[in-house]
Symmetry: D2
Subunit: 362 residues, 4 copies
């Protein structure tokens, strides 16, 4: 079967580099165009990222000499799909231009996450939100026959909604959530966080991050109405986030306390059982990037830890540990997710795999 031709927007940035590593030998997708800003267009990929390729894996051989093009639809005419690693500035105009040109846009940018007709999808959680796509198209004029925008969540949101979804499915609506994050520097891109700021230090603030967790979680864990025209956000779910940057390269650690509307709340053992048994649609569909185990539950008292657990399953799943009673809410635990994999590029790619399997790319 012919592979689907895909492009990458923002191909030289850190998220773009991750997209390239994931797509260079993908069984279903074929890299057909790489877009960058004007300062890089016309250069080979290799030359454009010289001194800025910060991945442990080398640049794929079949990508090194690809010539970078402008992020304009006319340069991506061979593509059916584009993955966007753009910053929110350029994303605001470029992404809708690609949608209007009938490309399917899988975006890691924040611009359309809270848009009322754009799915905000963590592939391990809510791919059913894709069903709003026909309605998304219908709101546009002219209505694109194939184009749409699907976004994935902020990296720190992704890490917690996976276990929270498992709990909500099993034990009913959540009541209150308190989360404190210890986020890796890679979440800020390159050059991102100055060593001067984070060396031997914690920065207890990440601009806009707490608000993203609080709003995105309510959309992702919410439903969609019967005729797939509107999301049903969980407006009565109280969430409070404390976000911190810590001197860790990759892997967001998040301390979560949660209470349930339905009482009595589940026991620690029931919670662990439910987390361990949680499965997702990407697995059932046989998606290439889906993890074998969605949530890996650790029994050791001091796990998960970013250095030891972030690369498990190539960072496609989520780790949970220290499940225990919370003296204030019902249950507390630690979640650990790979912010550059499932927290970014892996989510976009897995979303596209699901979309392909479900016929949205036809």
């Amino acid at each position: 079967m012919a592979k689907v031709k895909v492009g990458v927007l923002g191909a030289t940035g850190t998220v773009g580099q991750r997209f390239i590593l994931q797509l260079a030998d993908h069984p279903q997708f074929e890299l057909a165009a790489l877009g960058a800003s004007s300062s890089s267009t016309g250069k080979s990929y290799k030359d454009a990222v010289a001194g800025r390729w910060k991945q442990v894996k080398p640049i794929p051989e079949n990508v090194k000499n690809v010539t970078l093009v402008e992020c304009e639809p006319k340069e991506f005419v061979d593509c059916e799909v584009v993955f966007s690693g753009l910053d929110s500035g350029p994303a605001s105009t470029i992404e809708p231009a690609f949608r209007d040109a009938n490309l399917r846009v899988f975006s890691n940018a924040r611009n359309y996450r809270m848009d009322p007709v754009c799915p905000l999808v963590v592939p391990l959680v809510n791919p059913d939100h894709f069903s709003i796509i026909p309605h998304q198209r219908s709101t546009l004029s002219p209505s694109p026959s194939k184009g749409f925008i699907i976004t994935n969540a902020n990296c720190s949101t992704t890490g917690i909604v996976v276990p929270l979804k498992a709990l909500q499915d099993a034990f009913g609506p959540l009541d209150k959530i308190m989360v404190s994050t210890l986020q890796a520097v890679s979440g800020a891109g390159y050059p991102g966080v100055s060593s001067f700021d984070i060396h031997d230090n914690v920065v207890p603030y990440i601009s806009g991050e707490e608000e993203k967790i609080e709003s995105e979680t309510r959309k992702i864990l919410g439903g969609i109405n019967a005729n797939s025209t509107a999301f049903e956000q969980l407006d009565d779910l109280a969430i409070s986030a404390h976000c911190n940057r810590v001197p860790v390269l990759d892997g967001h650690t998040e301390c979560v306390s949660v209470s349930f509307k339905k009482q009595p709340a589940p026991s620690v053992e029931e919670v662990k059982e439910v987390l361990r048994k949680y499965t997702c649609e990407a697995q059932k569909l046989g998606c290439h990037s889906a993890p074998k185990q969605v949530i890996t539950v650790h029994d050791e008292p001091d796990r998960p830890q970013p250095r030891l657990d972030r690369d498990w399953q190539d960072g496609a799943g989520v780790n949970v540990g220290r499940v225990r009673k919370c003296p204030v809410f019902d249950i507390k635990f630690v979640a650990l997710s790979n912010n550059v994999m499932i927290g970014a590029a892996t989510s976009s790619v897995m979303n596209a795999e699901i979309a392909l399997a479900k016929g949205y790319l036809a």
Copy 2:
């Protein structure tokens, strides 16, 4: 006026080293004896800590050649007071032996913190708990005429009870507290945390730490009964702690959410005002180690930070920042305290200064 002669128990350990730096030229106390384990006794202090003195300041000249003695009262006959930097193992028998021998013991060990007749005192918060001392003596047989044990709190408890006390004084009883800590490696002593465990990593677990925060806070913020014979712990104050070790040398960062029993809760501005104006008895008594400003409130969006703020006022006060509304509780903020100073040695020394000023060393 003659200085009070004091000794240090566990003088070669990391807390002991801090005691020595604080006491070497103290205006009211004079170092008269240094106790260590048998492997060090008979050696000069300098020789005993060779390769283990891990302080930025050099060993004080007047301490270098002091001969270390056993941690036995007969070696401390010249002393009125001892500061204990012992681990909990040896502390369990040595500290009461010194009390029985009529020495005043200011302990940094955890053993007697929750003892019903021992004060657990953060000097910036509850020196009024010293009033149980006569009762402490009366419970012993034979009752020492002068000896007693006073403990200071765990370092992560200390950092939060200072602002919480200010809030409780101003706005009435607290209802619920959720705290997540990002604790420095120096809290674990030397050699303490292996670089292999914490380099590029977070360890989301510190043995016993969450329980200490939860129980100690209820004792410290509680009162003492009218005849000073029992503490009135705040048994209905719900506290939940998530404790993490992060790759920071000194300075515990703590993310706190709090709700008040009395509603409506104070505004952010009222909270900041109350924190800024908070004063403590150590200031009124003119104690040598008391900070000028008990709580330094930061208005910058990204402060306090351990590297930048831990040494402010020699680490004798507490820093608070990011005071804001909590979507789940009433108020949330970030507290930053120097775990090796106000979180350990400075607390013990300031407690002794207060005790001296209030006549407990007479």
Copy 3:
């Protein structure tokens, strides 16, 4: 073909853990016995390393429940070969006991490295030194028919002798070598280096390390006499090492300046060419663990770097960069090697693969 049964001595330590990961599914070797100290014997491997398994990869499933045995030959009767990850203390008596019991010992300990009848072999450099084995046996009484001890080099020696061997082969004897190392914390095992010592710090001293580099290099780069009974160390090769510990997890960076006896010295381009083209016997023999490229030469001005280059080829080769004229000697460059792979376990395992291919295990 039946696999060769092998054992691991010191199986729970950090080098032992690496041996297990490399041997668990090796095509020629089969793990048949795991030895540990008395405190662990009788336990399952999984239980013995609980809280001490510090590898990113999980414990292999087929190893988890293996019962640990004493490091005594009678427990290893099924084995032909043992890999020793023992510390030098126990190695001093255990390793010769296994040799005497007719096992081939591939040791990572330092004890026999400079022994006049023991090969000190970096598999990418001098496997011809294996030819002393018959003589080694002949010096023992009784002479073992099959047993011998082969050692691999210290991790910081390994990183530099590979490029130095290539240069010596191409341009004749080296005259002087100056090397400064920036060594990773994993080189010190677990718990090894305290975070308190290395956090935000450099320790410009590693006990015995400079002497090891200076002596081992002269043995490894030297020859063996015509009847294979003695090593011909390069006594007139002047070497000076400055060894430093830096806050890096894995990967030793080494700055090398070298001069040649034969003048004029080679150009920078000739040196790079020779390094790139260097091949080793392990490659010709088709050894499972041999790298595709022995020395990867980097042209970028700022490579190699430990975080980016240490895992290239699973750490089985060596990286060299910044080849340039030295204003004092002839040539200078930066070498980067993975101290826990080619610097430790991979060297032992590759040595055994070579020994197998060359008939020494028959």
Copy 4:
């Protein structure tokens, strides 16, 4: 006596911040003008550095509300002296403009360091080079009556020339020097080194740094001719530098091997004695910023270390340890200097103190 009025060029940068901390309550100098780039002029100092003040000490109270001015001489008419923390780009035109306007410029920029009529002065080493100043003025047309430019050395040069000067004074000309540096991130300013580049890493390259060490050392350790019109650089002194960036905040560690022209070379004990006894003119002149001990020689096997020794004497001196025989050259040792203090701002300020004491500011 009236203080000398001084200004700072580049006052908001990291070197400028250091200047301000050192000058805010200096006994001889009074801050009279602060210059910055156009984006900051007109703002109060406090507002201009909001979010960029990265010092542990707070902004001095008497500086907070000073209004920043353009780096033009007309804005500094009250000043006799300016300290330049400018980058080399703006320094190239601004510094000579100030000299021409009759201000004495003490520059930390690299532009004029190798200028044949500009002194390159490490205040602990070669303030005698100031004597070229009349000649410097005479080369200009029109010749300024008071203006001149004095530069201090690159931070990594500074750390080694101090002990090398002591050795040269005592044992005659040096023959060869090999140095490997392990440099702190603060040397690169702010934001400077990305955490992504240096976290868990070493970067074995700093652009231009090796060349600076090699050339600056030959000028600083050289003399000046009899009529003070030309420097006598040590053209036959062979120097080779390997420069590395390491994850340390402050403090450059440098591994030095040195040989002497005069043989036999001094013993280790003679070298240590000479280093310990070395004094400098700034001490004799009673300069405010001069260290009590120019070179602190450590006898412990593992010192100096950046975290423990960089702040000794406020970073105004240099630390040396591990003095030992070099198997290739004569002597080797480790030097440690505070790159932001004696390696930058302290050098400029001490140079100005010396110049004042010697009448060059009259």
